[in-house]
């Protein structure tokens, strides 16, 4: 079990204010909230990029505390991968495959093993092998993003942090990237922590959603639980998934009760069919 426990963390300018939470291993957690609500600050504590001013963070048996100043963070970072927003900006090597090897080799993996991992990961992210030995800067934006993601996966982390992994991609690319992480979470039991503005993605893929506002953790729970508190979310200036927006409009128009939130299209269609039939029965 991987537990991440993070308590009492008033960071400078109080970017985070007494946040406590737990994330279980193998889960998919989404963090939602306004720009500047402290989502990115929070996740940067998880792999030690930022230090708490007070409180502590534990990842498995690794503990970060503000008192322990000189601490080797490498073992932690090998376990917790981090895909930054626009990760293609971190590419620097001559070839895509070399860039993917950079991470594993920093953590002491041999060159041969790193290359093997790189090939596996590039296949996994769906980059055709004819691009492997090209300069990453000759690839398209979407392909560069895949290389960068492979570079984080090749370290073989147990936990991976995603900071808006689909930002700036076209809808098709967005869907492919999300499907990839969904698969990694389900099949390889990779723990995923995702910062996102996309409520649809948060609702569809997460086991748990955390809602941040002004450095505080305001809500946490399963997607259904979070999105049934629609009014609270709206008060924070946050949206609900499109499917719910549509059903709200429909139930309003038909003068029927809102049901529990649904997120997939086919569930939504089922609900609409029910509403029509159920509604008809009353007439």
């Amino acid at each position: 079990m991987t537990h991440i426990y993070n308590s009492k963390t008033p960071f400078e300018r109080a970017a985070l204010d007494h946040v406590s939470l737990k994330i279980s291993s193998g889960s998919f957690t989404s963090l939602i909230g306004h720009t500047g609500s402290g989502k990115s600050t929070l996740v940067q504590h998880i792999n030690g990029l930022l230090r708490p001013s007070s409180g502590s963070i534990s990842v498995g048996d690794f503990v970060i505390e503000p008192q322990k100043k000189k601490q080797d963070l490498k073992p932690l970072r090998a376990r917790v991968g981090y895909v930054f927003q626009y990760p293609e900006h971190q590419l620097f090597e001559e070839t895509a495959i070399k860039d993917v090897c950079f991470g594993p080799m920093n953590f002491g993996v041999s060159a041969a093993e790193a290359t093997k991992r790189a090939e596996e990961c590039l296949t996994l992210v769906g980059l055709p092998s004819l691009f492997w030995h090209r300069s990453p800067f000759d690839l398209s934006g979407g392909q560069m993003r895949r290389v960068a993601i492979a570079g984080v996966l090749a370290v073989h982390p147990e936990v991976i942090i995603l900071d808006e992994p689909t930002a700036g991609l076209d809808p098709h690319g967005q869907k492919e990237i999300m499907e990839l992480f969904h698969k990694l979470n389900k099949n390889s039991k990779l723990t995923i922590i995702m910062v996102t503005h996309n409520m649809g993605d948060a609702a569809l893929y997460s086991d748990q959603i955390l809602v941040m506002e002004a450095g505080q953790l305001k809500m946490s729970g399963a997607p259904e639980e979070i999105f049934s508190r629609e009014q609270d979310l709206r008060n924070m200036g946050l949206d609900v998934p499109e499917t719910m927006v549509f059903l709200d409009k429909l139930t309003d128009k038909l003068g029927l009760e809102k049901g529990r939130p649904v997120f997939t299209l086919s569930e939504t269609a089922d609900r609409v069919a029910d509403l029509l039939n159920g509604g008809a029965a009353h007439v």
């Binding site: 398209s140 700036g168 098709h172």
Partner: protein, 279 residues
Amino acid sequence: MEKIIEVSGVSYFYAEDDPWVLDDVTLSVNKGEWLSIIGHNGSGKSTLAKCLNGLIVPQKGSVRVGGFDTKDETNIWEIRRLVGMVFQNPDNQFVGATVRDDVAFGMENHGIPREKMIDRLAQSLRLVKMEKFADSEPHRLSGGQKQRVAIAGIVALQPLIVILDEATSMLDPEGRREIIKTMRTLNKEHGLTVLSITHDLEEAVNSDRILVMNRGKVVREGSPREIFKTPELLEKIGLDLPLAIKLRRLLNQRGISLQDTALTQEDLVNELWTLRSTM
């Protein structure tokens, strides 16, 4: 209807051995309309946008803006005044040290007298609701605010048309809404023509006309209703569909027979409401 941009038979390639990025493109933009161009990455839509203000001049065909041909070097600066362009990355188009300086930048380039500049600066900042930030530095603004400053800088030049080149794709949902709302007001209340290159289909369904591009060609052109009547084509070239259309299909599969006219969520809600009252 008055045509402000006419593109006829335009083809363009970046280098001799590269394939055509634009392949015999013909289109026109009408005064006062909101035209959306959709297509996946690499379909040539951004290249097309750069042809419209003479940033690139096509090897074949002609582009006429407000009667001027972009091939004619003498008109190029007037064309660029008439065709304002908001680019994707909010940071990489902010030239001035402050909001005020940035809005003024375009006007300074076009030699607008200082007294007029001051008036227009105040006006255009009011239009995009950024008047409170006149002295702010760019790194203190959100992406959406920076894009609104870019719009103000264009509006101040009193252009014929504003091109949004994926101008909302790097913004958070709030920033995106701000930009679309600002542009809607400018389009509806001030008669500004808008050409939006976008992936956001919910935005596209609300436009007056849509152009679909694929592999450098215009493959479809028409009102949103006409375009989404045959969603299969859009899917085939890798585009997403608006929620109402995806849902409409699923409902048809569940035996709820709907017409193929519903486009927006409101349309579909109304149709379902009518359907229910006749059941």
